[in-house]
């Protein structure tokens, strides 16, 4: 690069503007690819955009903290977006209040399965104690997962990574396995996606059906509540 170009790069790389803009561009490019691919689950926009940005950061030698200075403006919107989930949920209120029993049963069975399978498989395959404990809250939304992991002897930042990977696995492969097992009811589909894959699963559920999105949001909230109360108690009993 010429000295002048280097100067411009140094200036831009230091400002939040560049990374915020690149985040929005990467997202829209990934959505365009997803549309072009006929909305195939394997082309789910979030992981694609993340991969592109990670490569850009790696090639340019930019530390993550630096990138986050710009991207935090997008990150902040997660809070109000979570609050906004109440609106599609309210749209399903008349149906929802008649099926509290089935939802509770599905919650308890699904949530325990997610935790039991993850913990037993990871220990059996020789993962370290910290990794296993960071995996316990992987199906719940990030801030709760980090708090739970800390309480039971995991690493909060590692737990956040587990949560993200779980969300991507659920969003990408969830719709495929639901199709294989011939579960077509958007209520059941959405509830399962939100329970196992929290907000990222919910984002995916909204792309397929508004009812699926609403029940996904509900499952995400219910599982957060359930895991946050049950897991620390269970670990206490075990230890």
């Amino acid at each position: 690069m010429s000295p002048r170009l280097t100067e411009i790069w140094v200036y831009l790389a230091a400002s939040p503007l560049l990374w915020l803009t690149l985040t929005l561009i990467a997202y829209q490019a990934a959505v365009a690819v997803y549309q072009r691919a006929g909305q195939h689950p394997l082309a789910t926009p979030m992981p694609l955009a993340v991969a592109v940005l990670a490569v850009v950061l790696w090639l340019s030698g930019t530390p993550y903290e630096h990138y986050f200075e710009g991207a935090k403006f997008v990150h902040f919107l997660l809070g109000p977006a979570t609050v906004a989930l109440a609106i599609p949920l309210y749209g399903e209120w008349s149906r929802l209040k008649r099926m509290v029993g089935p939802l509770m049963i599905a919650l308890i069975i699904g949530s325990s399965t997610a935790v039991a399978l993850a913990v037993s498989l990871a220990s059996w395959l020789g993962a370290s104690h910290a990794t296993v404990m960071s995996m316990v809250p992987k199906s719940v939304t990030t801030p709760i997962a980090m708090a739970i992991a800390e309480k039971i002897g995991g690493l909060p930042t590692l737990a956040a990574v587990m949560v993200l990977m779980t969300g991507v696995i659920g969003a990408v492969c969830g719709p495929l396995v639901l199709r294989v097992f011939k579960i077509t009811d958007p209520t059941a589909q959405g509830f399962a996606m939100g329970l196992a894959a929290h907000g990222i699963g919910t984002a995916r559920a909204f792309q397929s059906h508004p009812t699926a999105g609403a029940f996904s949001a509900l499952a995400m909230g219910m599982n957060a509540l359930f895991t946050a109360t049950a897991v620390p108690l269970l670990v206490q009993v075990w230890a």
Binding site: L53, A81, A86, L89, I105, T113, T131, F181, M193, G199
Partner: protein
Amino acid sequence: MIAAFTWLLLFQLAGEITAQVLGLPLPGPVLGMAFLFCALVWRGSVPLALDHASGMILRNLALLFIPAGVGVMVHIARLRDEWLAIAVSLVVSTLGAIILTAWVLDRLLRAKAKRDAA
């Protein structure tokens, strides 16, 4: 639009304050969602502006996870060391939970619909 966004922030704020004051293990936004839900049930309808604003945000929910997602790069070394155990247990447990939850709920709802029809 601005008014609707202000309402979302106010409910989030109420959630954060409640979680702090009562020492609850729940994040503020999730409590804020519960509060807004109760407010809508009490009001009996969704204000049009709020409906529009939330629709716009939720259609692009995936965008909001990208900044945190890029954070995976910080943990690359750890993930490389234990990749097999992590990959197998995350994939099997997540997909297992999705199938089982969807199957159980699907069955229960069908049984209930049959009972209600009878």
